[in-house]
Each structure stands twice: as structure tokens, then as C-alpha cells.
Amino acid sequence: MPSLENIADIIHTWLNITFNSTTALLIELVIVAVSAIGLFSMLGLILIMMERKVSAYMQVRLGPNRVGPKGMFQTVADTLKLMVKEGMTPNGADKFLFNLAPFIVMIVAMVILAPLAFAKNFQLWDLNIGILFVASVSSVSVIGILMAGWASNNKYSLLGAMRSGAQIVSYELSAGLSIITIVILTGSLKISTIIQSQSDGWWIFKGHIPALIAFVIFIIAVTAETNRAPFDLAEAESELTAGFHTEYSGMKFALFFLAEYVNIFIVCVLGATLFLGGWMPLHFGTDTRFNELMDYIPSSLWLFGKTFFLIFIIMWFRWTFPRLRIDQLLNLEWKYLLPISMFNLLLTTLMAIMGWHF
Amino acid sequence: MTKEDLKIKLIELFPQFTTEIPSATIDESGTWLKMNISKEDFLNVVTQLKTNLSFHFDFLFCLTCIDWKTHLTMVYHFTSTTHRQPLVLQITLDREHPEIETVSSIWRTAEFHEREVYEMFGVNFLHHPDLRLLILPDGWENKRPMLKDFEDPINMIKL
């Protein structure tokens, strides 16, 4: 069975034989860009469909079931609708920033894609500070949101953007601290090394309670960072109608919408990479038959399975919980998550030094 | 407290009933006691009704106005959360320039109800903190749509 690694290798060798190395690199870049955009649009379609179905079943409904078999093409129809819709720009808006904002949000989401490992040895750019790169670039997206809120010339948008700013900046802390927990245990910022270190067991199992706590905090923090319910204060449709993207319509709105889902996907890949072993299959100690069976499943499936499991949990949150208030949201971060994750970091450091983990 | 008790107490307290030419009357025919008083006594009477502990009418549950074509009548329905005997208070107002003291400082619910009566009947509540249109759109000041002779050829359909 050709794995993603083999396909990439074949293309790479063929290009290098046929063209000189510069041309080959350029063509590879184009291929990467096209497949990244393709992945994004696919993700958008799949995740939105998934969200609608998950919410429908939790709300004792059926969900979309008219367009295509079991309503599979509903999101395609929605995308078509959004594409042909007029992208309005309000009169008093700052036109340049207003039109720039959705692209910034989208581009940030695309850039984070670079260091993520999707399968065994299948990675765009295995840079040695991969995790740091992801953590720092992802915080740029708040600029896009602030820009959208400010440029819309709408008070609801402004309030939403300000909330979002406060929220993302504070939750970055605990997200970062829980990432560092794993970095301490691994001793590397390189994503491939982090995954390799989990070949004998995932960190969530190997790292005892501190890793588990870090995992829970990570899930909470990234839910907040991606502006998902119960932390969707930036949108808060019952308070701020639609928050920072109140004034957006058509494809510009679709970009925000898509970026939200792509961001969820990315943070869930990150969570899977850090805590659930990335593309590593599930192994149990010395049970070799079981381990071989698990190895037989392609590594990309492992990663996507873990990612979608995390995405499902985040969706489950959204369709169960009420929304927090802005001050409660910040209280939760500064009074609970941050102290706990700091204490947890200490504990992990101690554990790493003493070598208590497996 | 029964209706009779209330009547006795009211007569005891207010001299208006006992003077030679009473400026206020009490009507017992309805379910509840109805008191007609003059506009001059109004503020004194309602303040007494609220503050005097033997009445303690702390709950103003209905405030409205009736157009009798010759005059307007303000109707106040009070009750008390302690003795639960409602009282109806009626004050006759001039139809052209109706004016009465506000009770919004005594019962805060009156603020909204008085604004409604102001726009619908044109009653001017003196010393009201914020006497503006509440329900009607702009440009309907002094149109007094709830009066019987109100005509609106555009919006009203005669069946």
C-alpha cells in the first residue's frame, strides 16, 4: 500500500530527474500550495458537515439530509451560495483593512500547516523550532480579528474584537504552558522528534497525571483560542449578533468561517501530535500481535483519527455548554488554568529531571 | 382587611369626605372600593395611601385613563402586599389640557404607565422625570390616538 511518504518520494525523485533542482523546487512549491488549499477546502466542507450532524443528533434532530445522499453535499451547496453572494463593504468601514482581515486570518491558518506532520515522514518543513513556530504564528490571527472588528465601523464588531483580543492573549499562556510540559518531557521543539519520542507510548499515558492535566488544559485553552463555544465570546450571537464578522458577507464571511474550522483542525492536530503520539499507532507493551495489527493501519489514518476525535470533543463542548461571561472567562484563565498549569509545569520538570516517566 | 374596614379608615383619615361639600366620594357598588377625588387633593392622598402604614398601598398594578368625550378620568388601581384590599382611585381631568402630578416617585412602575397615558391621551404628568413617547413613533406628539374622536384616514379602517 503506497503511503503518503512513498508518494511524496516518488514525486520528488521524478521531478529532480526531469528538471534541474530549482525548477523542481518551484514545482514542488506549487504542488504544496495547491494541495494545502485543497486540504483546506475539503476540511471546511467535512468539518462543517460534521458539526451540523453532531449538533443535529445532540439536539434530537436529523440535520441536513436533502442535498445529495444523506445530505452530504449540503456544505457544497452552501459554499456555492456564499460564492455568488455579494461581498458588501459598509459605508463607514476602513475599506483596505476590512478587505484584508479575512485573508490575514486565512493566511495565518495556512502558515501553521507547514511544520505539522501528517503521516510518517510526511511533513512540509520539519524545522527545529516547530512547536514554537506554531504557537507564535497562531497568535497572529488575533490581529486579523481585531482588524475585522475595528474596520467594520460597527460597535458590535468592535466589542467582539476586543473580547477576542483579551481572550486569545490570555489563553495563549496556558496553551503555551501545557505545550511546554511536553517539550520538557521530550527535550525538543522539533515536531518529528516529539513524535519519535512517543514510539513506545503516547505522552498522555507515559507522562502520568501531569501530562493528563496538561492535556485537559490544552483542550480548554485551544477551545478558547479558536473562539469556540463555550468561549465564543467574540461571536456570541445572542449578545453581539455575530461579533467581529457581523458586517461580513459572501466569500469574505466564508473565509472567516473556514479559518475557524481550519484552526480547530490545526490545534487538534497539534494536540494529537503532542499528547496522542501524532501518527504513531497505539501500542500496548509487549503484546506483539496487537501492536503489529495496529502498525498495519496507515499512519495518516492514525493522525486523522486522533484529530477528528479531538474535534468531536470540542464540538461536544459547543453543543452542551452555555457561554461564559467575559470576566468569568478571564477569571477561569487567570485564577484556575494558569496557576494549575504553572504548578503542573513544576511537577513535570521535577518528573523529567528525576526520570519518573516511562 | 375588608372593603368596609378600608372605607372606615379612608373616611377617618381624609377630611375631604367629611366637609360640608365633600370634594371626594366613595363608591361601593363594584367589587372594589372606588374613590373619586379632586385633582388638588391628589398628591396628598396618594402619598398618604403609600406612606401611612394602616393603608400601605405599595403595589400600583394598573394605571390608565378613560376618555368620556367631555372629560378624561385617570384611574389608578392600588393594592397592598400586606392587607390585599384593592382600591380604585379616579380623578377627573379637563379634556383639553389634562394635567396631573406624577406618581412615578412613589411607585416606580408608574413611570412607564404614565408615559403610555401621556402619548395615548395627552395627559401631561407634572414633574415626571422623562415624559417622552414610549410606544408611538416620532411625530405623534399631541396626536392623542386613544381619544374617541381621533381620526387617522391612512391607518384606520372603518368596517
Binding site: 461536544w316 455548554f321 | 368596517l159
Partner: protein
Amino acid sequence: MFLKKYLQDIYYAVKSLLIGMRRTGYYFTHHKEIITQQYPDNKDSLSLPERFRGEVVMIHDENNEHACTGCTACELACPNATIKIITQIDTTPEGKKKKALNTFVYHLDLCTFCNLCIVACPTDAIKMANTFEHSVFDRSKLTKILNKPDSKIRAGIE
């Protein structure tokens, strides 16, 4: 003491959240709890109660006869002028002049289905039908004439 309360708070908070998630998780996995009715598909099995107020119809029997005397009781009972009855003067075989129904105009677009006309009718000539798909493309189609063409009053109804 402070730490104990702090941890207790976290415990109860997480527990309450997990209970809620268990409930939504239950519905996520138990699809037979779904209550959605897929409307145009279930048209055959859809049954509305016989009292359902869909629109006013006039009862005609197989001889194309109705029971409306044109007394305008329904017109008077209607709060929003939905019904307009046009009467004519018929001459009975005995030579007497008698008021009779010419056209029963019913404005479905004005009707609020309050049932007052049905209650008011002394001869039970009209009733509420349980049809409910009233949407049309032209508003004028909602003005209906309830008595069928060439229908006449049933004998013996005064």
C-alpha cells in the same frame, strides 16, 4: 482550607459539566430519540385532528346543495371582515319573495381561524376543514367563493 475549597470547586464544576456532556452524548448515540418529521415525505401518514382549523369551507352534499340561508350571522360574527355574503332575492314557487345566498366570499388572507363564524352559523352550513397547505403565488387566489357554482339551498332549511 483554601486549597481544599479550591479543589472542591473544580471537582463539582467538572462533574456538573460531565453530567451535561453525558446527556448530549446519550442523544448523540441514540438516534431513535429523534423527533424530526420529514414533512413533504410523510404526507401520506400525516393526519391532522378533525377539529384542526385550516380554512372555512361550505358543506355541499351529493346533490350540490348547501345549508346556507344567507343570514349573514357569520359575517357579523367575524372580527376582521373575512366573510362577505352577497344575497339575492329569490321567488319561491308559491310566489313569495325570499332572501337567498348568491355568493359566499371568503378572504383566506384575512382569516385568523378563530372559529367564531362556525359557532355563529345557525344552520351548520360552514365548517373548518383541516387542510393547511394554503400557500399560493398570487394573493388574489386567497379570496375564495365557498358556494359551488349552481349549488342551491337544501330543501327545508329556513
